[in-house]
């Protein structure tokens, strides 16, 4: 994984000014470190060797105070910039992500992906906080401070400078070397940890089942055994993994110790003065510190970069092509040889379907679950682009039409309509937000939803029964004037009484429009002019009633 993914700069512009600000702050921090060391070395020397008192030291103390305040302000400013930057970057990534998902459309967004994306867009990108507030500024400091420190040391003491300059590169070299060998082990250990947590979760969630079979108590021992095995395995990995930090710490502390001893010995022999010696002593650890901290904050970076990586992988998905024509012609809908394959399934969901739908007719699609009925509706809606074959409307390929324009001619009632928090009326108005209240009311009346029109709905439609939700969705259809109506099992989840009412509503909805409906129940099939039976993605029989 790269320490700074260039895509982050491309997709989240806020990263750019943050990086610039971090560099500026890094430079000033480096300058302050050098100034502080110089002042301290001078102050101590003056007091110790020249017997300076507080009065003589006033200038040094004032300057040192200013440097101290400066470092505090720089540290604060760095955090401030980090928080602002990461908030901005998260917003930019989230917006791009969701915008792109909408572009990719419902056909791309399957159930599991939806859950993962929700997590990614909300909590997932929060992992970038650590990356921006700790890792990135440290990386900047590590690439600035050592050079400036060395630059200050060159005129003071060449020998110490060379010692530091030679040992310093060992840190990144060893980091890379040890990192390579331990990375695989770490990943294995992490996988095991995930498996362990998963096992514990599986067992806890399955407690009622385990108790039924008298196997619950015995699992305590299994948990203990698995956890212990994991502990031993992980400790074996850690003994090696921690060696890397051991080596890094050894390099930096031993180097500091060696420099201190060497400087001390030259000082005894009079080949060096105290001021220089102290300067070297204070600055030497400062050269190693930022590099060491980069290693410490590495895990903060991986998590954030992994989240960013996930976002980028979505952003790099190619959205389906969009047609440009906005004039949707009237006329029959002709499906010829339409085939749809889902990536995770071996058999095609639709397999060479030929079907013609004449304006004004009511076509019912019947067949066992999984035979491709809902997929056929998705194709008509433009959610799913056929892998082969075409859908022609009034002589024009649907693929050449602008999908939004086409969908203004289609109204759809899904099997599980999704309702949004707000009033029922707001939900009915979904497609036409500026529809006048009476239009909404008459649509609700037609769909038998008028008696709960002002009910407030919770998140995801909470507070309404399945039947009520279906009637809200039906009201959306009534409010729309689209000539093509697609209904996916409009009477599923309904008891006998509501079913009869909804059937009556569907009959009224169908008047003067073309209707394609997916149906199981005989009562619904009776509404159709024509029943098309499907099996395993093929049309097996078309019956005119």
């Amino acid at each position: 994984m790269k320490p700074l993914d260039p895509r982050l700069l491309r997709y989240a512009q806020a990263t750019r000014w943050y990086l610039a600000a971090s560099v500026a702050l890094g430079l000033s921090v480096a300058g302050l470190i050098v100034a502080q060391a110089t002042l301290l070395a001078g102050g101590i020397t003056d007091v110790f060797l020249h017997g300076a008192g507080l009065h003589a030291l006033r200038g040094t103390l004032l300057a040192l105070g200013a440097v101290v305040v400066g470092r505090a302000v720089a540290a604060w400013a760095q955090e401030l910039a980090a928080h602002r930057a990461s908030a901005a970057v998260k917003t930019q990534l989230r917006e791009r992500l969701l915008d792109h998902v909408v572009r990719l459309g419902p056909g791309w967004l399957t159930g599991q992906r939806g859950g993962e994306l929700t997590t990614l867009a909300t909590r997932g990108v929060d992992a970038l906080d650590g990356y921006f507030s700790r890792y990135l500024p440290q990386l900047v400091l590590a690439s600035i401070v050592p050079f400036i420190v060395l630059a200050r040391l060159v005129p003071a003491d060449l020998l110490a400078t060379v010692t530091i300059a030679v040992t310093l590169p060992l840190i990144p070299i060893f980091m890379a070397l040890i990192g390579l060998t331990t990375e695989a082990r770490n990943r294995r250990s992490f996988r095991m940890l995930t498996r362990l947590a998963h096992h514990f979760l599986d067992v806890v969630a399955g407690l009622p089942t385990l108790k039924v079979f008298g196997r619950a108590k015995a699992q305590a021992e299994t948990i203990r055994r698995v956890s212990d095995e994991h502990r031993r395995a992980t400790m074996r990995t850690l003994r090696l993994a921690f060696l890397s930090s051991l080596v890094l710490e050894l390099i930096s502390t031993i180097s500091v110790a060696l420099v201190a001893v060497a400087v001390g010995l030259r000082l005894v022999n009079g080949r060096l003065d105290l001021h220089t010696a102290l300067l070297v002593l204070v600055l030497a650890p400062e050269a190693y510190l930022p590099l060491r901290l980069v290693g410490t904050h590495f895990h903060a970076s991986t998590e954030g970069l992994a989240a960013a990586e996930q976002v980028f992988s979505v952003l790099e998905e190619e959205p389906p092509p969009r047609g440009a024509r906005t004039d949707v012609p009237a006329g029959p809908i002709v499906l010829s040889d339409v085939t749809v394959r889902y990536p995770d399934r071996a058999v095609p969901a639709l397999d060479g379907v030929d079907l013609t739908i004449v304006p004004g007719e009511v076509v019912a699609l019947a067949g066992p679950s999984g035979c491709g009925k809902s997929t056929l509706l998705s194709v008509l809606l433009g959610f799913v682009v056929p892998d082969a074959g075409r859908v022609i409307v009034g002589g024009v390929n649907v693929a050449d039409l602008d999908p939004d324009a086409w969908r203004r001619h289609v109204v759809w009632m899904s099997q599980r309509p999704y309702l949004f928090a707000g009033t029922v009326a707001d939900n009915i108005r979904l497609g036409t937000p500026d529809a006048p209240p009476d239009a909404v009311r008459s649509a609700a009346e037609a769909a038998l939803a008028a008696d709960f029109l002002d009910t407030r709905v919770g998140d995801g439609g909470a507070g309404l029964s399945a039947g009520q939700r279906q009637r809200v969705s039906l009201a959306r259809a009534f409010l729309s004037e689209a000539p093509l109506v697609l209904l996916d099992e409009p009477t599923a989840n309904l008891d006998g009484e509501s079913e009869a009412a909804v059937l009556e509503a569907v009959r009224r909805l169908a008047a003067g429009r073309t209707v394609v409906l997916v149906a199981h129940r005989p009562a619904l099939l009776a509404l159709a002019d024509r029943v098309v039976r499907m099996d395993a993605g093929r049309v097996v029989e078309a019956v005119t009633t």
Binding site: F48, Q219, S227, M235
Partner: protein
């Protein structure tokens, strides 16, 4: 927090080892700075090199020791942490085992289980990242402040004050600032997350009705408000880092100012001035991580609170100290039984039910009528609040719960399939079953043909919660497992819930076929196929309102007939 430490107490030796090496590592770092400062100051007086030998050896030793001690500390700390985690998990599990399922509504929602597990892990984090570093910092901070105080009292006092500011003051300030920022951003976060869920889950409806762009714009507007709110609080949140830098610098500055006065006054030997001035750098290096650690404390404490409040619930079922032996007679009888879930009102009132061997009874009623409570009482997941349940004439309260459940089995719609093979899932029903018996059970559940068609057969992994199986296959696999256990009495609680109608009808038919001749209670709100059972008990509002055969019940006006009419 104390409870966590008490839980960890058997691992005290390992934790103490981690603390010891932590102190040694930090001590070496401070020693390295202090002795090199002394060495250089002393060297400036040009003494014979011999006088410096001890200091030179000490500097080199500290230089090597620091890394080595740190290495041991980290190993010991992680080892202890894993030990605590194992212990915590086992203890939590043993407690949950007693509580499940009646006192654990948390089990009904998968994500809550995930949170519980994450909460347990958070407890571990507290120990390794907060408690241990604080103990090490307290010890080393006190020792260094004492040492500097001995050289120059004022410097010791300033260092102690600076350390307290970093270890206690900064976390307190950060906590207050973060809470204030949170009050501003938390509602926006919630709004944003709800809008995201809406957008993604409702995407088909939104796109179909051309409303996706509008939603997206509203969401972006919320997101922007969140960004601005976060930016406004950034100044306060970043204060901590500045204060740590300020405390470090102030101690160094005070060391020089106070030291200069003391050297002039003759109360401090000039040779140790550098020690007084430079040592704070090393000390603050070891404590600068504390504010970040302390920030985790609040979240971790909330997590711990949730874990303990769950574990502290009273047992839903009383286990007898000396359980009576399990009777050989498997006649199960409910006499005037009322029951309630922990903390709730009675939801089952005065129910009588007799299950003689071989008898099949259906319990029907609208949802919320107390049917599942009845199932919980029958398998002794709940004790009756009034009346009694007897097995072979013995009150089940005198029997061990696990013993009762060797006789009475339960199959629910949410029976868990574990993330392992078909074979291992089946063997939960009977550990010793050979393939022949597994296949027989699969055949009874009408699943054998499918299993045989799989390339890996019985060794096929079922996925998390059986996600690689269809809804119907999951139920049939759970049924095969229950059949394998050969419970003398089997309770089927809504076995076809959440299945589509065709699948549900087929499964019901197979269930009725396979339970013929076995003592069975079929709890359902669907009425398909009930003509086959010996007795139908109609429950409504927690009471038995009707009972008898299908034909008798249809003949009279009542709940059952109304349910039938609605269904057909």
């Amino acid at each position: 927090m104390l409870r966590l430490l008490r839980l960890a107490s058997p691992l005290a030796p390992r934790l103490a080892l981690a603390v010891l090496f932590g102190v040694l590592a930090a001590g070496s770092a401070i020693g390295l700075t202090a002795t090199s400062a002394w060495l250089i100051s002393r060297a400036a007086q040009h003494p014979p090199v011999l006088y410096l030998t001890v200091a030179i050896v000490a500097v080199r030793t500290f230089g090597i020791a620091r890394g080595v001690f740190r290495y041991v500390e980290r190993l010991a700390g992680h080892d202890a942490a894993f030990g605590v985690l194992t212990r915590l998990r086992v203890l939590a599990y043993q407690r949950l085992e007693r509580l499940a399922p009646a006192a654990l509504p948390v089990l009904r929602a998968g994500d809550l289980v995930g949170r519980f597990v994450a909460d347990v892990d958070a407890a571990l984090d507290v120990l390794v990242r907060v408690v241990l570093p604080y103990i090490v910092a307290a010890l080393i901070g006190a020792a260094t402040a004492g040492f500097l105080g001995a050289l120059l009292p004022g410097a010791g006092v300033v260092l102690a004050a600076g350390l307290l500011l970093v270890a206690v003051g900064v976390p307190a300030i950060q906590h207050t600032v973060a809470r204030r920022a949170d009050r501003r951003t938390a509602p926006l976060r919630g709004e944003l997350s709800a809008a995201t869920v809406d957008l993604l889950r409702g995407l088909p409806d939104l796109v179909a009705f051309g409303a996706a762009r509008r939603r997206l714009a509203a969401l972006a507007e919320t997101d922007d408000r969140l960004r601005r709110a976060t930016a406004r609080s950034a100044a306060g949140v970043g204060l901590g880092a500045g204060l740590v830098a300020l405390a470090t610098g102030a101690c160094v500055w005070a060391g020089l100012a106070l030291g200069a006065g003391a050297v002039r006054a003759g109360t401090l030997n000039g040779v140790v001035l550098a020690v007084v001035v430079l040592t704070p750098f090393a000390v603050f290096d070891t404590v600068s991580g504390l504010p970040a650690a302390a920030a985790q404390l609040a979240t971790a404490r909330a997590a711990l609170g949730r874990v303990f409040s769950l574990l502290d619930q009273p047992d839903p079922v009383s286990e007898p100290a000396a359980p009576a032996p399990l009777p050989a007679d498997h006649r199960l009888e409910l006499i005037g039984v009322s029951a309630r879930w922990p903390g709730g009102p009675d939801v089952l009132h005065d129910v009588d039910l007799a299950l003689s061997p071989g008898r099949r009874v259906a319990v029907v009623g609208p949802s919320g009528s107390g049917k599942s409570t009845l199932a919980a009482v029958l398998v002794r997941f709940l004790d009756p609040s009034a009346g009694k349940v007897t097995l072979g004439g013995v009150d089940t309260r005198d029997l061990a719960g696990d013993d009762v459940r060797t006789v009475v089995g339960l199959l629910t719609d949410d029976a868990r399939l574990f993330d392992t093979t078909i074979r291992d899932n089946l063997r939960i029903g009977d550990r010793g079953a050979d393939d022949e018996r597994l296949r027989a059970a699969l055949a009874d559940a009408r699943l054998l043909e499918w299993v045989d068609s799989l390339p890996n057969g019985l060794d096929t992994m079922v996925g998390e919660q059986g996600s690689r199986l269809s809804g119907g296959q999951r139920r049939r696999l759970a049924l095969a497992r229950a059949l394998l256990a050969e419970f003398p009495i089997l309770i089927l609680d809504e076995p076809t819930e959440h299945l589509d109608e065709e699948t549900a009808d087929a499964l019901t038919a197979d269930l009725l076929a396979v339970t013929r001749g076995r003592t069975t209670v079929l709890i359902t709100h669907r009425l398909t196929g009930l003509a086959e059972v010996d007795e139908i008990v109609v429950v409504d509002g927690g009471r038995i309102v009707q009972r008898g055969g299908h034909d008798d019940l249809v003949a009279v006006d009542g709940t059952y007939r109304r349910m039938c009419q609605r269904h057909s």
